[in-house]
C-alpha cells in the first residue's frame, strides 16, 4: 500500500542548525491499516507526514503508494492519492468560501476540473447527506462561509473533504490537538467512524497516548527521525500508557516524555 524506503530528510544541512528530521526511515503500511503515531516534540512525526504529502522533497529514499513511485511528484499531484487534515483547523478549509464550495473543491481532488458548473443539485444532495452524518446541524448551512464556523466544525468538514473519493491514504496530523477536549473527542469519534466505514488506510499523529492505544490496529513511536516501536494487532491492544512511557523513557536522549505527552 504505502511504502517508505530509507527516507532521510535533513533541514538546514551544513549549518549549525542542521537537524536530521527523518533518519533512514522505512515503513510499509498494509491496505486498511489504521496507524497511530506518537513521539516527542521534534521526533519527526509531522515531517514524515509532510514528506509523504509532498510539502517538501526528501533528501534520500523512495515513497510509493500502491506501486506508484510518488517521490518526485509535486504536492498537488499526490493529492490524487492522499487526503489530509491538519492540526490548525484554519488550514484545511477556505475560510472565505461556502461550505458547499469547499466540498465541491474536494470532490474534484485528483480529477480534472474543467469548465463545468461547480455545483449542481445532485452534488448538494450528496453534501447534505455527508454533513448530516456529522450531526452538527451543518446540513442546512451549505451556503455559510466556512470562516464563520468553529474550529471543531471546520475540522469535521475537513475530515469529510479529505475522505471524499476514497483516498488511498488519509493523513491526520494531530487534527484534534487544537480543539477543546469535548470537541476533540467528538471529532475523533467522527474520524473513527469515517475511517472504519470507508476502510481508509490511515496515519494519525496524536500526542494523546490513550487515543493512540484506543484507535487503529497499529501503533508506531518515533524518536529522532526513526521508528523505535511498531506494534500491531493483539500486541497493540494490550498496550498500556505505562508501557509506552517506559519505552519512551528508555529511548532516552531528547525523546524523553515531555509534559504534553503526559497529558493523557
Amino acid at each position: 500500500m504505502l511504502e517508505l524506503k530509507n527516507i532521510t530528510k535533513i533541514f538546514n544541512a551544513g549549518t549549525v542548525n542542521e537537524k536530521v528530521a527523518l533518519d533512514n526511515l522505512s515503513i510499509t503500511l498494509e491496505d486498511g491499516d489504521f496507524v497511530t503515531v506518537i513521539g516527542g516534540n521534534g521526533a519527526g512525526k509531522s515531517t514524515m507526514l509532510n514528506a509523504i504529502a509532498g510539502t517538501f522533497p526528501v533528501d534520500e529514499g523512495a515513497i510509493t503508494i500502491d506501486g506508484t513511485d510518488i517521490t518526485k511528484l509535486p504536492e498537488h499531484k499526490r493529492a490524487k492519492f492522499i487526503g489530509r487534515v491538519f492540526q490548525d483547523p484554519m488550514t484545511g478549509t477556505a475560510a472565505d468560501m461556502w461550505i458547499e464550495e469547499n466540498m465541491a473543491i474536494a470532490l474534484r481532488r485528483g480529477k480534472s476540473r474543467g469548465l463545468g458548473w461547480a455545483i449542481n443539485e445532485d452534488d448538494r444532495k450528496l453534501y447534505k447527506s455527508m454533513l448530516k452524518r456529522l450531526d452538527l446541524g451543518l446540513e442546512d448551512r451549505l451556503s455559510t462561509k466556512v470562516g464563520l464556523l468553529s474550529g471543531g466544525q471546520r475540522q469535521a468538514i475537513t475530515l469529510l473533504m479529505a475522505s471524499m473519493n476514497h483516498p488511498k491514504l488519509l493523513l491526520l496530523d494531530e487534527h484534534t490537538a487544537a480543539l477543546d477536549p469535548k470537541t476533540a473527542a467528538k471529532v475523533l469519534a467522527i474520524t473513527r467512524e469515517i475511517v472504519e466505514e470507508e476502510k481508509l488506510t490511515t496515519l494519525m499523529i496524536t500526542h494523546n497516548m490513550k487515543d493512540a492505544i484506543a484507535h487503529g490496529n497499529r501503533l508506531i513511536m518515533m524518536n529522532a527521525g526513526k521508528i523505535i516501536l511498531d506494534v500491531k494487532g493483539e500486541e497493540k491492544s494490550k498496550l498500556t500508557v505505562e508501557d509506552l512511557l517506559k519505552i519512551f523513557a528508555k529511548s532516552g536522549s531528547d525523546g524523553a516524555a515531555n509534559d504534553r505527552m503526559l497529558l493523557v
Binding site: 504529502a53 493529492a79 490524487k80 488550514t91 484545511g92 475560510a95 473543491i105 458548473w117 470537541t183
Partner: protein, 301 residues
C-alpha cells in the same frame, strides 16, 4: 452656471469611470480573488491602448483590435506570473519588473511616445465626442463582462482559482496546481486591464506612453470604494463586481468635482494615493484602536 457646467461633465465622468471600472475588475481578480498585489497593470493598461491604437491606425476593424489588445495584456500577465511562480520572485516585484519591461515594449509597439486615434478618422466603438452613445456601449460591455466572470468563477476551474487565493495550503492538499492558477489569474486580470486600455484609447482618441501611470491606484480606489458601497448588500459575486464598477464611476465623479472646485490638478495623483492609503488602513485601524471586546460564546463542535 457652474453647477450646470459640472452637470454637463457628468456623462463624461461616468464614461471614464466605467472604463476604469472595467480596469478595476481586472485589479479585483488579482487583489481580491488571488490576494496578490499586481503592479503590472500600469504597463498593461498602456499595452492595451497602444495595441488597439496601432492596429486601428493600420486599418484594422475595432473588434479584432480590441481582441488583440486583450491577448497582449494576457501575455503581460503571463510574464508576471512566470516571474512569480517559476522564478520565485515576490509578486509585487514581479509586477514592477514586467511594468518596466512594458514601458519599452509599449514604446516599441507605438514607435513613439504616443499615437493619435481621432474618432473623426477612425471607426471607433466609443468616443468622448458622443458620450451618451459611449455610455450605452460601455453598459453593454460591462453586463457581458460581469456575466462571463460570474460564469467563469462559478465553474470547477474558476472555483479552484478562488480557493488558491483564499488558502494555498488547502488548495494544494485538494490537488489544485496553485502556481498554474496564479499565472492564469494574472493573465486574465491583465487581459481585462488591457481591454479597458483599448476602450480608453478609443474614448480619449489617443494612446500615450504615460497614460498608465498610477493605474493601479485608480484600480484599487475603485475596488475599495466599490466595496464600501455594496458592503451591506451581501457577498454575491455579481454585486461585488457591480460595486467595483460603481467605485470607478464614483472615483471619476469625485475627480471631476474637485477639478471643478478649482483644485490644483498637479495634486490629484497625490490625493488619490492618500485616499487609497487611508482606505487600506481602515481595517487595521479598526482592529488596533476601535476593537470591540468580543463576546465569548461557547460553540458546539
Amino acid at each position: 452656471m457652474d453647477f450646470l457646467n459640472w452637470l454637463g461633465a457628468m456623462p463624461g465622468a461616468a464614461a471614464q469611470g466605467m472604463i476604469w471600472g472595467i480596469m478595476a475588475i481586472g485589479v479585483y481578480i488579482t487583489f481580491k480573488i488571488l490576494d496578490l498585489a499586481d503592479l503590472t497593470v500600469d504597463g498593461s493598461m498602456v499595452t492595451g491602448m497602444a495595441t488597439c491604437a496601432m492596429l486601428m491606425a493600420a486599418g484594422w476593424n475595432v473588434w479584432p483590435a480590441m481582441l488583440v489588445a486583450f491577448i497582449a495584456g494576457m501575455l503581460a500577465g503571463l510574464v508576471t506570473g512566470l516571474f512569480h511562480t517559476v522564478m520565485g520572485i515576490p509578486a509585487i516585484l514581479s509586477g514592477i519588473l514586467t511594468q518596466l519591461i512594458l514601458w519599452s515594449v509599449n514604446l516599441k509597439i507605438m514607435g513613439k511616445a504616443n499615437q493619435a486615434l481621432p474618432a473623426r478618422n477612425f471607426d471607433v466603438l466609443l468616443t468622448q465626442l458622443r458620450k451618451y452613445e459611449a455610455l450605452v456601449y460601455l453598459f453593454l460591455i460591462v453586463v457581458v463582462l460581469i456575466a462571463l466572470l460570474y460564469w467563469f468563477f462559478g465553474t470547477r476551474y474558476g472555483m479552484s482559482i478562488r480557493a488558491t487565493g483564499c488558502n494555498e495550503k488547502m488548495s494544494r492538499a485538494q490537488g489544485i496546481n496553485t502556481n498554474k492558477n496564479k499565472v492564469v489569474g494574472l493573465a486574465l486580470s491583465n487581459g481585462i486591464v488591457a481591454f479597458a486600455g483599448s476602450l480608453l484609447a478609443q474614448y480619449s482618441g489617443k494612446a500615450d506612453i504615460s497614460d498608465g501611470r498610477g493605474a493601479i491606484v485608480i484600480g484599487l480606489a475603485a475596488v475599495i470604494i466599490g466595496e464600501a458601497i455594496v458592503s451591506r448588500m451581501g457577498q454575491n459575486f455579481v454585486i461585488r463586481l457591480i460595486g467595483v464598477m460603481l467605485g470607478g464611476i464614483v472615483y471619476y465623479i469625485v475627480y471631476q468635482t474637485v477639478i471643478f472646485l478649482g483644485l490644483d490638478t498637479d495634486l490629484l495623483k497625490m490625493l488619490s494615493a492618500i485616499v487609497v492609503a487611508i482606505f487600506l488602513a481602515v481595517p487595521n485601524l479598526k482592529r488596533t484602536y476601535f476593537a470591540k471586546p468580543v463576546k465569548r460564546t461557547k460553540e458546539a463542535a
